[in-house]
Symmetry: C2
Subunit: 214 residues, 2 copies
DNA sequence: TAGATTGTTAATCGATTAACAATC
DNA sequence: TAGATTGTTAATCGATTAACAATC
């Protein structure tokens, strides 16, 4: 059976729907129309309906969408109904920041280990999560399920470690190194967070804004 | 004179061009054609030429682009030719990670102060950058130029602090809180980094990949 | 039933790619 | 000059918005 490919533009919006629906649940809202949601989120109602209908008909004519049901369905679409174990390579500030971010666990993303090359860090724990030495990586991955590896080390080392992880059977990488990974196995899912790119985009928009306002 | 609006799709790609050109300079490459660059970056040569020509003709027929010149021009477009002072609100792991990220300074983004509400942090410095108490914010902004405020505190406090910053004359916010800011002044530039959104997108693509590979 | 609102098709808009004349 | 490659226009493709029949 042919699966229709859903564009990344749509996928990028799904977590945002999920977030707003979560807030609606907190506010005790039971149902919502695409039009009401549209007003809150600053997108067109048409886009909301189109986006959702990529995955199925979650609404009901004349009624709208049941908030809790839609929230759960989007959760399933995003794979949040199952636990993802994450290891973090690089136990510097950013790595530790990720380990401390409790919010991820509520979404099913559990950081199970940190790795670093600095011997001074051996055995230290962050929120109960142990920092391992990088040479224990093979051993660790042999004994524990790892779904995602987050890379927070300098870019010079990123390619080598990424490929090492891939050869250990890890097929998903959350990349914070400031480089586009060059992987031997093309069947690996990579999601990059390029902080300096984000900052440069902000900087461009600052300039643009200045010009606009004279 | 009418300025043509350049789409954010184009702007998002500019930092990536900048990054690749920087690498070419490091490798001692003097000139490059859109076609060669296209091969390295996995985009079409046509897109490269279109993107660049939004800002001006930086190339030369029969020759291509001078790497160093193009690098500098893109830097100017992105506003990297001037210093941006950043203050970070929230001196937790993420705030400190940003303060430690030396790379930003090379791009002209200088973190000048951190702010937190935790009295235990008063006076501590991170890489020489002082942690201030949040109630010193008004005083600090009165005495120092601040171009960008990075928000790394919990989402519950984000809106209030963002609006406080805006009323202090800060017109650019780099938002790490897991919320879409609701600002009183619409003339503020906001760039958000939603880490959990990024993780959810990764998770979706993991699922998709699993299905594809059986 | 009448009103509301979805699901879905059609129309529009914008972004990407292709093509090629201009020109170094 | 001949060859290469840009700048730019035209063609295509995809994503967004509008419209409305289906239906709760």
């Amino acid at each position: 059976m042919e699966e229709k490919e859903i564009s990344q533009a749509v996928i990028r919006r799904m977590p945002r729907y999920y977030r707003y629906l979560g807030e609606l649940i907190e506010d005790g809202v039971e149902r919502i129309s695409s039009n009401d949601l549209s007003g809150r989120m600053n997108v067109t109602a048409s886009q909301i309906r189109q986006d959702l209908n990529n995955f199925g008909g979650f609404g009901q004519q004349g009624y709208g969408y049941n908030v809790k049901y839609l929230y759960e369905e989007i959760g399933k679409i995003l794979g949040l109904n199952q636990q993802h174990n994450i290891i973090v390579i690089g136990a510097g500030n950013l790595g530790q920041a990720l380990a401390n971010y409790v919010k991820f666990e509520k979404l099913g993303f559990v950081i199970t280990a940190l790795f670093d090359v600095n011997p001074a860090m051996e055995g230290i724990t962050v929120r109960g999560i142990k920092i391992h030495m990088l040479n224990e990586l093979e051993d660790y991955c042999g004994k524990n399920r790892v779904d995602i590896a987050a890379l927070t080390m300098p870019k010079a080392k990123a390619d080598a470690i990424a490929n090492r992880l891939v050869s250990l059977g890890i097929h998903a990488i959350w990349n914070f190194a400031h480089v586009d990974l060059d992987l031997i196995d093309k069947d690996v899912v990579v999601e990059s967070v390029h902080l300096s790119d984000s900052l440069m985009q902000l900087s461009y928009n600052i300039e643009k804004n200045k010009k606009k306002n004279g």
